[in-house]
Assembly symmetry: C2
Homo-oligomer: 814 residues x 2
Amino acid sequence: MHATIEAFSAETTDKSVLTDEAVDFIDRYWRAANYLSVGQIYLLDNPLLREPLEREHIKPRLLGHWGTTPGLNFIYTHLNRIIRERNQDVLFVCGPGHGGPALLAQTWLEGSYSELYPEISPDLTGMRRLFRQFSFPGGVPSHASPETPGSIHEGGELGYSLVHAFGAAFDNPDLVVACVIGDGEAETGPLAASWHGNKFLDPVRDGAVLPILHLNGYKIANPTVLGRMNDGTLHHLFEGLGYEPIFVEGSDPARMHRRMAAAMDQAFDLIRHIQTASRENAMFGMPRWPVIVLRSPKGWTGPKEVDGKKVEGSWRAHQVPVAQVREDQGHRRILEQWMQSYRPEELFDREGRLIPELRALAPEGDKRMGANPQANGGSGRQTLCRPDWREFAVSVPRPGGVLSEATRFAGAYLAEVMRQNADRRNFRIMGPDETCSNRLDAVLGVTDRAWMAPIEPGDEHLAQGGRVMEVLSEHLCQGWLEGYTLTGRHGVFNCYEAFIHIVGSMFNQHAKWLKVAREIDWRRPVPSFNYLLSSHVWRQDHNGFSHQDPGFLDLVVNKKADIVRIYLPPDANCLLRTTDHCLGTHDRINVIVAGKQPALQWLSAEQAEIHCAAGAGIWEWAGTEKAGEVPDVVLACAGDVPTTETLAAVDLLRRYVPHLKTRVVNVVDLLTLQHPSEHPHGLADAEFNALFTADRPVIFAFHGYPWLVHRLAYRRTNHVNLHVHGFREEGTTTTPFDMLVRNELDRFHLALAAIERVPGALQTGAHAVQLFRDTLIKHEIYVCEHGEDMPVITDWCWPANSGNAEQADHEPGM
Amino acid sequence: MHATIEAFSAETTDKSVLTDEAVDFIDRYWRAANYLSVGQIYLLDNPLLREPLEREHIKPRLLGHWGTTPGLNFIYTHLNRIIRERNQDVLFVCGPGHGGPALLAQTWLEGSYSELYPEISPDLTGMRRLFRQFSFPGGVPSHASPETPGSIHEGGELGYSLVHAFGAAFDNPDLVVACVIGDGEAETGPLAASWHGNKFLDPVRDGAVLPILHLNGYKIANPTVLGRMNDGTLHHLFEGLGYEPIFVEGSDPARMHRRMAAAMDQAFDLIRHIQTASRENAMFGMPRWPVIVLRSPKGWTGPKEVDGKKVEGSWRAHQVPVAQVREDQGHRRILEQWMQSYRPEELFDREGRLIPELRALAPEGDKRMGANPQANGGSGRQTLCRPDWREFAVSVPRPGGVLSEATRFAGAYLAEVMRQNADRRNFRIMGPDETCSNRLDAVLGVTDRAWMAPIEPGDEHLAQGGRVMEVLSEHLCQGWLEGYTLTGRHGVFNCYEAFIHIVGSMFNQHAKWLKVAREIDWRRPVPSFNYLLSSHVWRQDHNGFSHQDPGFLDLVVNKKADIVRIYLPPDANCLLRTTDHCLGTHDRINVIVAGKQPALQWLSAEQAEIHCAAGAGIWEWAGTEKAGEVPDVVLACAGDVPTTETLAAVDLLRRYVPHLKTRVVNVVDLLTLQHPSEHPHGLADAEFNALFTADRPVIFAFHGYPWLVHRLAYRRTNHVNLHVHGFREEGTTTTPFDMLVRNELDRFHLALAAIERVPGALQTGAHAVQLFRDTLIKHEIYVCEHGEDMPVITDWCWPANSGNAEQADHEPGM
C-alpha cells in the first residue's frame, strides 16, 4: 500500500518531461498571467509600470482576491501545454471563489477575451482597460461569472464546481473537464458528495472529469480541513472515493513546473488509457480516474511579508495582500517590487502585447479554454426532438369522466422524448431515486439508470450508459443538470416538492447566472432547467409534516421575471402540454407541480391546449353563472388538488344553494396573476378583471402558501375581495382529505367561504351551512376511527349525479 | 495495510463475548422489537395474533417502512447491552428515514414510551394502541419525530443525522452519541461533509460520536453507492476521513449477535481509551474514533419472497413488503407466518407484557435511550448568563453623531457572554470562516476556534477545546447548532446573508421540529436558534450579484408565527439589545440582519431599549410633522442601510421641500407589520394606523425584497398607499451607493417617491425634483469614472448642517 502512495508522491513526479527551455517558457507565461492578475487588483493606470507607481495609478477601492490566483494561473498554463501537445478539448471549471483575476488574465493572454470584448484589446490600451474594469462599477466581478469567456460556473457560492464538471462531461465523449477545487470549497457538503460522480460517468459515451484539488492551506482566516491532511490520509481518502491521486507539492517554480507537467501527462495518459480500453471493450466496471492534488503556497510569488507579518503561504494572502498602497508609500513600493519581480519587460512588447514566443504557448481557436464551445451552450446540438404530446393524451370524454395519474402520462411522453433523442444523446432525467415512485417509469423502457458500480442479481434497469440519473442527493441532481443544460443539453429534474428546498440556494445561483448570461450578446441561449415536482404537499398525508412544504414557489418568484415560470397543471393533459412547452424553451427555469396519484381528469387535449396557452381561464361548464351575468362569487383554483376541491365545492353549492351564481377560474400559469409590469406573463388588468371580476368575492384555492397569491395579485383592482385558501403550515400524518380540512382547503370550507362572502347567502343557505359543518365533524370522527377518508369523499365524482368516473387504464394514449 | 483491514473484518469480530444464553436473550429481545414493528405497520387489532388474522384486523392504509427497521432494532438492542454493562449514557440518533417503527417498539419495550404516553400502556391494551396510532390520523409519523422519546432528530429530510450527533456531543463529555446512518442518507452532501466533525470534536471536553453506517444496500428502488463499495474501499475511505472502521456483516442472527457484540465492545473500548488517554494528557492530536459498518439484509427476517419476487435483501423490502394483506388471503397468510416467526408467545406474557427476563435486558431510568435527558433539552443547564448589554453600548450623543460598525459591538457583548459562561460550557458561535470578517473577533480574546487537526506556526486562535466553530460548510454550522440547542445549550450562527439560503431546507425542518415539539407537554423548552446575518445584500457591492440575495427572510415568514422572529436593527445599540433579547428566548428561530460596515448611529441605549421593546416606532426627531398634525407622507424603514437612506431622504426633503410634513417610522421587529391574527408580534390595527396613518402615502425603504412588506401588510387599512422600495434583483459589482440607486432604494429615489405621492408636491417641489434627478446622473458619471461614490454621499451625516460625525473608537463601551 505504501508503495502505491510513494509511486504517486511529489518526489516521483519531479522527473522531467520538459526541457529547460520549455520550463523557462512556461514560467514566463505563468509570470505574465500573475502580472496581469496583480494589475487587475491594484491598477487604474500605468499598466506596465513604465513610470514610477504613484497614488493616482491605484484603484480607490482595492477589491479582489490574490490568494488562489497564482495557483489557478499555474494550472491553466499547464493545461495549455497539454491541450497543444495532445490536441485535446478541455473545459475549465474554476471552483475557487474569487479566482476571477486568473481567468481574465489567461483568456486575455490567449486572445479569447479580446475577441469577445474588442475594447479590451490585446495591447497596452486593452491591458489598461482589463485592469480598470476588474471589480469596478460597470466592470466585471472578482470571480468567474457569465461574463468570463469559457466559464459555465459562477465562483460565488462554493460547493458546485465538481458537480457542474460532471454535468458538462456527460455525453461529451471527447471532452476533458478540468475542475479546480479549492480546499475551502472541499469542506462543503455538495462538493463532498460530488466525488461520487465517478459512479455515474460512463467512460465510453461520456467525457472525463479531471479534478484538481488545489490545497493552498487556508480559507479567509483559517487553515482548511483538507489542507491539513497529510498525503497518506488524502491517498486513502481518494482511494476510498475511487480515484487515483497524483500529488504535486512545493513552491520552487522550476521544480514545480516539472512536477506539474509530469502529473498532467500522467493524468491525461491515464484518462486516455481508460477511455481507449473502455471503448474497445477491454475494460469493465468503474475505472479509477486520476485526481491531481496540488499543494502550493497561498498567494504564491506574492509578498513574503508585509508589516512584519507573513503573507505568502498564509491566510493573510487571501484577499489584497498589501492594503495601504494608495496611502502608504512603503506599501506602494512593495507592490511595485512585487509586480516588477515578474519582469514584465521579458513578457510584453512595447505595445503591451504578449511577445510572440509566449503567444505560441497558448492553444489556438476553439482549443483555447476561453473559447471552448461547450462553455457557450455546446456546438449546434441543442435541438431536442419532441413528439406531439397529444399522442399521449388521456381521453376525457367529459370533465371528471375519468381517473388517471397525471405524471404517468408525462412519463410516457418523456419516454418518447428519450427514444427520439437516443442518437443525439442530449436528454437526461435526474431524480433522487424517485423516478418510478413519481410514475415516470416508462422512461426505463427506453433507457436505464446510469450505474458504474457493480450490478447484482435482482437489480433492475441499471446500466453503464443509462440516461436516468438517480442518486440520493438533490444537490447532485441539480448540479448535474445545471452543468448539462449550460453545455447545451436538455433534461428534467423530478423531485419531492418539500425536499426541493435542499437546492433552493443552487436554484438562486442558477437563476442569477441565467439573468446575467441573457444580457451578454456572445452567450448562446441554453435549454431551460425544468423541475417536475411531484409527491407534492397535498399527497404527503402519509409521510407527515416533515414531507409537507410548498414554499419553493415563494423562493422562485423572488427571481427575475424573465427567468422563472411556475405551472400548476390541473390534470394529465395540461401536464403533458406544459411539459412539452417547457422542453421547448430556453434560458429559463420552469417549475411544474403535478400529482402522481389517481385523480379526476378535466380537460381533453384540445381544451388543455387552449387553456394552457391562455395560462388561466374560466371553466364555463363548471360554474352556474349565466352568459352575460356577473356571478355572485368566483371560485378560483391553481393546482390539481385545489382544482378538484373547487369543483366539488361548486358541486355542493349547485346542489344545496342552487340560486348562487358561481364562476370557476382555473390558473395553470401562476405568474399570469402578477401585474404585466412585473411579469411578462401577467394578465392585463382588463383580462384579469374579466376573469376575476372587479368587485365580487373570489375564493381562491391555492396549492401553496396562501400569501403567495396575495403577493402576486396585490396590485389588482379586486385584491381586497380575494380570499385565499392554501397550506397554512398545518401539516401532520393523516388522510389526504383530512390534510385539506386542517388547512381549510377542502370542498366544504371552500363552499362555506363562498356562502359567507356573498351578501345574504348565509341566510338563504343556512341549511347548507349547517350540513357542510356537520359533514366536517362527521368526517373527523370517521377518520379517527377508520384511518381513512369517508367513502362519500373518496367516491365523489363530477358532477355528483353522474355516477362514478371510470378508472382509466393507466396506459396512456388510449 | 491489508493486515489492518483484516484485523477489523467481519470474520474476526465473530469471536464471542457472549454466552449462548446471552445470545438467546438478545435475540429474543430483538424479535420482540421486530414483532412490534411489523404490528405497527399492519395491525389495527388482534395484536398478539391470539385469533386467526382477519381482514378487519388490518389497517385500511398500509403505511410505514419495514426495510431499515430490523437493522435499527438490532443496533438498539446491542446498545442496550453496552449501556447496562458499562453504565454508559448513550443518545440515539436515528438517521434512516422512516425508522419510526423501530424506535417506537424499542421505547415501548424499555418502558420510556408508556411513561410519557400512559395510554400506550406496557400491556395488551397499550400494544394495540401502539400499533393503531402508527401512521394513523391523530397518531404518530412513520419516522423519528418530536413525538418520539429520546429523539432530537427528525427522520424526514435525509442528511443531517451525523451533524446533529456531533452537535449533541459537544460539551457533553460523558455522553456517547450513537448515530445510525443509512446508506441512502450517506449519499447526501451534508452527510458526506459531516464526517469531518472529528476535526472539531475535543476528546477531553466533548463526548463521543459513534457513527454506525448501516448498509442494507438499497434505497427506494436502487442500490446505494456506499452499499456497493467493498470493505477494502470503505476501509480506505474511513481511514482517509480519520476513522477506525469495524465491520459487521452477515444475516444469520446468532452469528450476527456475536459479531455485533464484539464490535460494540471494540468501539466502546476504543472510545474509552481515547477519552482516558486524552483526559490524562497522554494523547494529543486528532484521535481515530471508531465507526461501525453494519451490512445486513434490507428487510432482514421479513418475507423472503412475495409473489415470486425476492423481498428480503432487496429494494422491495423498503416499504410495506406484503401489500395486499387486507384483500388477499394469501398475503395475509404470509404476514401471519412472518409475525409468528418471531414466536410472540416466548416474548410476551398473557397480559401482553414483555416477559420479565427480557425486560431485564433494557437499561433503567435515565439510562434508557428513550429517557436520555439530553434528548429532552439537557438536564437543567440551559440557563445562559447574560451581561447587561448596555455596558457594551456605543455612546450616541445625538442621532447620527457617531460612526460605528454595529457587529463589532455585538462581538464585544458576545465575548462577555462567552466569558461568563466559560465554566458552564454551554455557548458556542458557529460560522463559515467569517467570525472575524463579521467583526466578531472579540470572542477570540476569550476562546479559540475549535481545531483538532495539526496546528502550524502562524496559525491564530486555533485550539482543541475552542468554542468558536468555523468550517466552510453552512450545513455543518447549522446542523451542529441544531444538535447543540436541541440538547439545551446556546449559540449563534453568523453567516453571509446570501449564503444562508444554503441551509434554507434545514431551517424549514428545524422550524417544523420546534412547532411540533412545543405542542408536546413532556418536551422541555430548548434555547432558540439564533442567526446573525451580516455581510448583507447592501454591502456586497464589491462581491457582486452572486453574493446579493435577501430572500431568506421570505422563506422564514412561511413558518409558523409562534416560531419565527425577524429583527432588522438600524444601528449598534439596537443590535445589542436585539441580540441580548434573542439569547434569552426559547423554542424560536431568531433571524437578525445587521451590517458590519461603519455606519451612522441613531439611538442611545435608552432609546434603543424603548424602540426595540415596541418593535416599531416613530422617530419624532427625524420628521418634520408637528405634534397633533397628520404628516403629508410617512417615510418608513426597516434595516440599517434603508434607515440611513430614509433619514438622508428626509434631510433632503427638509432642505429642498421645506413645507412637506414628513414622519419617519422605523421597524426593528419586522413581524410587527403582520396582522395580530397572523403573528403574535403583529401590531393592532389601531397601533399600525397610529404609526403609518390610515390614508397618507407611505414610502417604505426595506432591506429585502419589496413584496415581502406587501405580503406582511396586505390586511392593513392603508395598504393601498404603501410604496415599498427594496432589492429588486438588480445586483452587480459596483459601489455601495450605486447598488442602492440601481434598486431605487437610495435617498434621492426615496425623496422623489415622497414628492410624487403627495398631491401637489410635484409642482411646489419641482426644483427639488430636478436637483435630485440631476444628482443621480452626476453620481452615475462620477462612479463610472472614479470607481467610488461621490464624497458628498460618503461624507453625508445627519442632519446635513451639523458637520461630520465623529469616527467612534471601535472599542465599545465608550
